[in-house]
């Protein structure tokens, strides 16, 4: 029996090299776990029938002495990342039968290392949501409490790792979609610097915000995956290289931690989350980190800015789903009516609402007051962060304002749902990297629910995040 509960990428890699177990045995163990747990949790929309064939290829590679760090490591892949010849539905009816014609660069880099792709993970439709309740294929339940959501939009990816249905997963993060489900499911989640991981082959949502990143059990695992998937890509002109941003020396012996105290005292944060956050701050102090209060004058506006810019970009990106080139087609009375009917049938409520909201903020007469103003405030936020990173190396907040909430408890009020993103959207608006790290549990109704903290660093400083995260987790 392989102890997958305590397995990490590094441990698995060493065991595979030593011959403690084969990739086939490892893959079989995960497939058995998926078979046992997925019917209730619904983390996977599809488990690939060729997983064991992929495993055998990886075994051959290890035998030949050509193993890379991810050779034979079993992954779950979010359903909005394309893999040639496989369905990529983005959890939408629109793409229910869409078979990808090329492979996303980030996935390709895993495949080149010989990783085993177990299946595609559930998500909120087109990554729009914070609970996977917007999936056209049912909610992903939280492995820690089946009456609660797994978070979103990468809820399937986080739940797959948390239920030991994969050793690691890829997700995408537009406003917290990797970090918030990681907080809810007790996993580690990284939203990398804007441009550090190619988005080629990721189904676009908000193109100035989207990033692909890993969801794992340890900070070290996230670092290993990030180092494989990052880097310039000729197919994504927004990609950067390792040297795009200068790496300044730390402000103290160790990275100095900044806390936006005023923002945290505004209210709206669950008491247990706040108490756990304060404990985490104490832990950092005990570890010898210097902790400073910082001011981010405009951070209170970040959620409002996000909910203007993101729908604007959504409305543009979703225009490609027209029922003509690929995806769902429904017949209307004429050619133009085909669009109306196909989009009505193919797109869920949240997606349609965001398209309409985006159309509104971009329309003549409202453009200046909303889209343009939001961009101005976004630039002020960038300045705030730039200034903050002159005195500290990382910024610490909770990842989400609450632990995982009950299924159905926020579906009727979009603003309540959006408030879940309050701490995460800023990293996307500013383009900086942020790491969600498990920080403990709170008991609710007899169940232990995970909590998390978010560490944010300056552009290109994932190395700082990994260093601080590992110390915090005693890795």
């Amino acid at each position: 029996m392989i102890d997958i509960k305590n397995l990490t990428i590094k441990k698995a890699h060493e065991s595979l090299l030593k011959g403690d177990f084969t990739v086939r045995e490892l893959t079989e163990t995960y497939l058995a776990e998926i078979q046992k747990k997925n019917p209730e949790i619904n983390a996977y929309l599809e488990v690939y029938t060729d997983a064991l064939e992929q495993a055998d290829e990886a075994d051959k590679r290890i035998k030949a002495g050509k193993a890379d760090i991810l050779t034979g490591i079993p992954f779950a892949i979010k359903d909005n990342l394309l893999i040639k010849g496989r369905i990529a539905s983005a959890s939408s009816k629109m793409l229910e039968k869409y078979c990808a014609t090329y492979t996303a660069t980030a996935v390709q880099r895993l495949v080149e290392q010989g990783a085993v792709l177990l299946g595609r993970a559930n998500m909120d439709e087109f990554a729009m949501g914070g609970s996977t309740e917007n999936s056209a294929y049912g909610v992903t339940k939280n492995p820690h409490d089946m009456s609660r959501v797994s978070g979103g939009s990468s809820g399937g990816s986080a739940a797959a790792v948390a239920m030991d249905g994969a050793l690691a997963a890829l997700g995408t993060d537009t406003g917290g979609s990797i970090r918030q489900p990681s907080s809810f499911c007790g996993t580690v989640g990284l939203k990398p610097t804007y441009g550090s991981v190619s988005r080629y082959g990721a189904i676009a949502m908000g193109s100035s915000l989207d990033q692909i990143g890993p969801i794992t059990k340890t900070v070290e695992d996230a670092e290993i995956i990030f180092n494989v998937i990052k880097g310039a890509d000729g197919f994504d002109s927004t990609t950067i290289s390792d040297t795009t941003f200068a790496k300044e020396p730390y402000k103290g012996k160790k990275p100095v931690i900044g806390i936006p105290t005023a923002f945290l005292n505004q209210g709206g944060i669950d008491e247990a989350v706040l108490a756990n956050f304060n404990e985490s701050v104490e832990k950092f102090k005990n570890l010898g980190f210097e902790v400073k209060e910082i001011s981010l004058p405009n951070i209170g506006y970040s959620l409002a800015v996000y909910y203007v810019l993101m729908p604007a970009e959504v409305s543009a990106n979703m225009a490609r789903f027209d029922g003509v080139k690929y995806g769902l087609h429904k017949d209307g009375v004429n050619m133009v009516d085909d669009y109306f009917v196909s989009r009505r049938e193919g797109l869920g409520r949240e997606v349609r609402r965001r398209i309409m909201l985006g159309t509104y903020v971009l329309s003549t007469g409202y453009y200046d007051a909303y889209y343009n103003k939001a961009n101005i405030v976004r630039n002020l936020l960038r300045e705030d962060f730039k200034k903050a990173f002159e005195t500290v190396d990382v910024i610490l907040t909770p990842t989400a304002p609450t632990p995982a909430f009950k299924i159905g408890s926020k579906t009727e009020d979009p603003i309540q749902m959006y408030l879940e993103d309050i701490f995460t959207v800023t990293a996307n608006l500013v383009g900086v990297p942020a790491l969600a790290v498990p920080s403990g549990f709170v008991e609710r109704e007899g169940k232990q629910l995970p909590l998390g903290i978010q560490i944010t660093a300056a552009h290109g400083r994932e190395d700082t995040l990994f260093m601080v995260g590992k110390e915090f987790r005693s890795e």
């Binding site: 869409y98 078979c99 014609t101 100035s208 000729g234 002109s237 405009n298 506006y301 409002a304 800015v305 909910y307 203007v308 409305s315 225009a319 027209d322 029922g323 003509v324 080139k325 690929y326 995806g327 769902l328 087609h329 004429n334 050619m335 133009v336 085909d338 669009y339 109306f340 009917v341 989009r343 009505r344 797109l347 409520r349 349609r352 609402r353 398209i355 309409m356 909201l357 159309t359 509104y360 329309s363 200046d368 007051a369 909303y370 343009n372 103003k373 939001a374 961009n375 101005i376 405030v377 976004r378 630039n379 002020l380 979009p414 603003i415 959006y418």
Partner: protein
């Protein structure tokens, strides 16, 4: 602030068909979201009438060459099309 006519107009611009019930519901929801995001109007400093601000712009060039042979992916891509005629996407008559 947002009435049914606005929603109908937005739905038309967005190429989405809505039921009467959805028009009502979307109207209420979009109004509450706009009320929330309206707080950005309070932000002091630059005003909206100033220079439009968009993301960082940098030019990215690539060699002006074909990345693949003509027709290499045609079959695979057209296999995803809801309707085709030969190598063309088929739509209803426009004129």
């Amino acid at each position: 602030m947002i009435d049914i006519k606005d929603i109908e107009k937005l739905a038309e611009l967005s190429r989405i068909k809505l039921t009467d019930e959805e028009k009502q519901k979307f109207g209420t929801e979009i109004e509450s979201i706009l009320a929330y995001v309206n707080q950005i109007q309070e932000v002091a400093g630059a005003t909206a009438s100033e220079q439009p601000v968009v993301g960082e712009v940098r030019n990215v060039m690539r060699p002006d060459t074909n990345s693949n042979e003509s027709g290499a992916n045609t079959e695979m891509i057209l296999a995803e099309a809801p309707a085709r005629e030969g190598d063309l996407l088929k739509v209803k008559k426009i004129l």
